[in-house]
Subunit: 382 residues, 4 copies
Amino acid sequence: MGMVGGGVDAFIGAIHRIAANMDGLIELKCGALSIHKDHAITSGKVLFLPEDRTYLTFEEMIENESKMPADERIDFITIVTPNFAHYAPAIMALENGFNVVIEKPMTFTIDEARSLQKKVEETGLTLCLTHTYSGYPMVKQARAMMKEGALGKIRKIYVEYCQGWLSKLSEREGNAQAAWRTDPKKSGKAGAMGDIGTHAAHLAEYITGLKITQLCADLNIVVEGRHLDDDGQVLLKFDNGASGVLIATQVAAGEENNLKIRIYGEKGGVEWVQQEPNTLIVKWLEKPAEILRAGNNYQNILSPFATKNCRTPGGHPEGYLEAFGNIYHNFAQTLLAKMDGKTPTPEMLDFPSVEDGVRGMAFIDNVVASGNSTEKWTAFKI
Amino acid sequence: MGMVGGGVDAFIGAIHRIAANMDGLIELKCGALSIHKDHAITSGKVLFLPEDRTYLTFEEMIENESKMPADERIDFITIVTPNFAHYAPAIMALENGFNVVIEKPMTFTIDEARSLQKKVEETGLTLCLTHTYSGYPMVKQARAMMKEGALGKIRKIYVEYCQGWLSKLSEREGNAQAAWRTDPKKSGKAGAMGDIGTHAAHLAEYITGLKITQLCADLNIVVEGRHLDDDGQVLLKFDNGASGVLIATQVAAGEENNLKIRIYGEKGGVEWVQQEPNTLIVKWLEKPAEILRAGNNYQNILSPFATKNCRTPGGHPEGYLEAFGNIYHNFAQTLLAKMDGKTPTPEMLDFPSVEDGVRGMAFIDNVVASGNSTEKWTAFKI
Amino acid sequence: MGMVGGGVDAFIGAIHRIAANMDGLIELKCGALSIHKDHAITSGKVLFLPEDRTYLTFEEMIENESKMPADERIDFITIVTPNFAHYAPAIMALENGFNVVIEKPMTFTIDEARSLQKKVEETGLTLCLTHTYSGYPMVKQARAMMKEGALGKIRKIYVEYCQGWLSKLSEREGNAQAAWRTDPKKSGKAGAMGDIGTHAAHLAEYITGLKITQLCADLNIVVEGRHLDDDGQVLLKFDNGASGVLIATQVAAGEENNLKIRIYGEKGGVEWVQQEPNTLIVKWLEKPAEILRAGNNYQNILSPFATKNCRTPGGHPEGYLEAFGNIYHNFAQTLLAKMDGKTPTPEMLDFPSVEDGVRGMAFIDNVVASGNSTEKWTAFKI
Amino acid sequence: MGMVGGGVDAFIGAIHRIAANMDGLIELKCGALSIHKDHAITSGKVLFLPEDRTYLTFEEMIENESKMPADERIDFITIVTPNFAHYAPAIMALENGFNVVIEKPMTFTIDEARSLQKKVEETGLTLCLTHTYSGYPMVKQARAMMKEGALGKIRKIYVEYCQGWLSKLSEREGNAQAAWRTDPKKSGKAGAMGDIGTHAAHLAEYITGLKITQLCADLNIVVEGRHLDDDGQVLLKFDNGASGVLIATQVAAGEENNLKIRIYGEKGGVEWVQQEPNTLIVKWLEKPAEILRAGNNYQNILSPFATKNCRTPGGHPEGYLEAFGNIYHNFAQTLLAKMDGKTPTPEMLDFPSVEDGVRGMAFIDNVVASGNSTEKWTAFKI
């Protein structure tokens, strides 16, 4: 693995390293860790990178690495820069034969996303989008239950992602995370909807297997002086006729990272809360609710998709880093299978793809369009 | 107290009797308990009513009672019939000098609601609307905190009321509760939005002191064969600029009576869940959340509005019947004060009024109008 | 009903009145509400008692009432005085043909308890002991599950009752509740163990149907200057070989009224927490845990003992007062059946009896003896 | 790092590798991974170990590694064998200049433990005992609060560790974990008390800074045919006069890994539950309880000991592996400091030590002695 961005002190870079590293399948071999030369070099040292693979630009990294012998050079690059700086390294990596891991939202514009998708199709390489929350075992359990129709036809989907960290104008108080995320030039068309709304939309579609077909968005700039939405609520219609609500806000003062989803079908519902992720509540019409817990060896209850993404037995809580690790783990297994000339299994392929990335960028476009429209419903175009 | 409707076996009639009876201030003295003669008479016996005050129609009851000496006749009537049968006994009661307690939604149409409001104003009598959920102590605590600005300016209001009991076409399977509630001739313009959406809207306005000014509704008939909405989600705008979401559904299979509200201001948020009503979570920006619990003698934390509506010390859970009892208790204290020629205190007047009833009927009208509109926003007209 | 003790401002007297009154089966007709004449008279007025049935002593009350015609006089007396003043009115009431409701612990000494038991047996009258917590529907559900062996043989019983209200020397700061409860002359041999330990012991035996056979107690006076235990922990052995722990403390600062019980058998366990009483968690070996909720119409899951003790459907929380009301309700139905010459059903007889009262007093004796012993195990003598 | 035991498929070996690996400070360089030659070799391959550092015995490993140049050889060995096979590699490692990480309980007998302690003192090397649960940030927060006296004098300590996985005679059904843990020849004097009771005892002493001085144990073999305690409850006395209860059971059917601790002082209490480890509930006398959550930037609330042991911001749950990683992280930082000739800071030294290991072995001895005694109290000897 080579990393673009993610110098020491960058939040998400460190997360990616721990996650990639978790199962002993992936090693950080090189990086273009910062656009600031000194920081790039320092970061390389702290991370025990050899000097000659501590690059100053991603172009340099991709060029050099592509010239190295196959058994020495990296197999993929990981891009953890702000949104506006995703596309250039990604497309160059693909063009030079490297697989790609990339932060969400996948690109700055939907055109860039489509371009990546085309390149992935042309090259047969693999792109992995880190919608972390789909990496949780009990999310996968919910998805497996939907697939087998455990709840009957799905009727309602409520997904909400409430944070409070942008309740003040923190971007003007030295918060670097806040600064680029609230800057239209770095973040893109949307603020909260791009940053966390895309996670929520992906989670809803990932679990249910349904697609959003129409939406009606109310996007707001709550904190005065901000330039992108920091809050919004969206009515949703899905392709099977189900309806629902998506909430994404970063001004819910006192909330941490409260992503929650509830899905109801004819026979019952499921409820999953990211902050207590090892539990999936399953509610049943006319029967007691059940508490499904990750890592247990219940008789024929937990899907292999859930159990394969656990490292510990029931009662040993796994969290965000493990979910992130699952994304990398499955991606790595896919690469290994492909290197061995094998077809990756569905379990290996269980990570967000370039198609999800395109859908995420379309979500941003559509939700912003709806937010600006006086019409109630906006068709989800892609 | 005289009761219209509420023969034995009627759910809400029994609830009203327990609630009214709870604090020893109110006694059931007479009733027109059923439109079916035999049932009316049987019900009277079971409830220990004297035969001569077991009436067969509300007209008979009001006429007879109004002829009785002041110290013998009832002080108010309670109307627990289906919606379409609220107005006639209510207006007749007011015209004959009786105060009124009435189930929500207050009437069948908004014109009836306005007519009741006018009559209340003319007569100076008191009308109490049983939006039970506003009777909970920790709801009152939340309201008191809003009033004193504890959270700063309110920005977000999420209120949801999820039930699952109409997940099937129960109205055709002998469920009497379901039958009238899903019948436009008995229930009115709206189904779920009238039955539980009005509770949710009232709760949001009661706690925050804000008023809904615009809404954007998606109303659905999820269960085929039904004639009124059994599900809906509504985007909201409030008069201070806050926005939010109201969810009301009766097809969330596996849910019981899951009313929940979250409100966020500049400094923090509150969260209250009806099914665990003795707890109010208060979340703070950059400080740990607090768990406020009913009945405690914290130093200067709980509002008198909260503590006066508790009967037991902390840790002795109170529930739905006690909340209902609080509505009756405060109403009774208001009547007693007025009888004594005194001005009722704000604590006494802390029960939903005819104005809330008019607003509830307007909510139904506006939400149905919005549901039928292709415009995103519908102004809340009253 | 006639009440001994419970003048206005007394906590438990008011609770008894609400509970007794709840279902319209019982009416307060007379009282000897206070040993202070003025307070007795004032209390009678506030409670709308007729002057001639507002008595100044329990002796006067019992004498007078027993001379009244059968259809006018009370059917039972309720004794809500401090422990030391339970026996005299109870025995006199029984001797004069009145049934009795009495607060726990039943008496001041075990000899008094045995004497009451003998008198109940002689007279055929009914004595009801208000171990309130056994009145909760989900406690009854747990008991029903034990009876039918749902968990297999019971192995472990953990019951704990943690309060914090005696964390300071409140008895010297004007807290009347604290004053008599910590006074050996009024409370008896034990403090916390008598006040709340007896509740915990009763709950464990009530649910499991097992009997404590041995115990090993560590009783403590934590707050200096106090004269009775305010804290203790007890190892338990039961008659089927199960073992467990009983905790009763009133110095767990920050706790309200945290009674909790967990019981494990070969196949699974149950968990019930008084402060959220409408939920019973059932945990299963190798299967997901289930959340049983009061008032639901699950198919064949809830016992009639649970459903008959609910007044509202699922999701309308019932609490402490309703549990208390269930004790009175079942007691009243037992009296009604006996008056009608019928044999009360097991559902009617589902309230704590004089036998439970004797066992409670034996618990106090045994736990204090064990607390004073250097031997590990003390046999439970009765 | 070199590993003794922990061949692939061994539960705890894999955990140690993930934990050690988590922060990029530690690399697995060699191992004597199994006493079975083939398994040792296979495991080495799977874990990408070089062939010449895939050893067949720990003796071979220690000998070889000690001959390697200082910058190539390992700095410490990790021992993850069953209890009876802890001492030999540990003492040999220390004698050869290697630091040691070792699973709990530290040894098979207390004499072995004392011997290790002596050797550590002689050599100045570092031994780290993996009482994982002390690695959680909110456990460290609780400890910091005790240290600063936030709760006043500590009065009550309730610690319980309930598992259900030994509810059946799984050791005879091919469960290898169960097999050695229930075998006195491999596990030692105690079963559940050694396996999880030692964790509970360590947690209580770690958080409070108090020492157990007396105990009264009831140890049971619940499942017939077993040879060591699978269940027990212990009354505790601490050196400041506080008392409490320790529960350790592996037959609580339906429980996963339910370690919970509650501690009460004069002013309030704390509650921490391992299965939801990012939350610390702090209850206050006469003030609302607070919910402290890991990773937040509250103003002056969280101790550096808590925040330094977090990798992610609030709302990104960390779990068992991260807690384990913290043990290794702090141990590694201690080694690095010592290598640099610096004195490790208290934050670096925040991992369980050889002294804790001796205390754990003494706990086993004392609790078994008490279990066999008819005296109530057994002094805690060490």
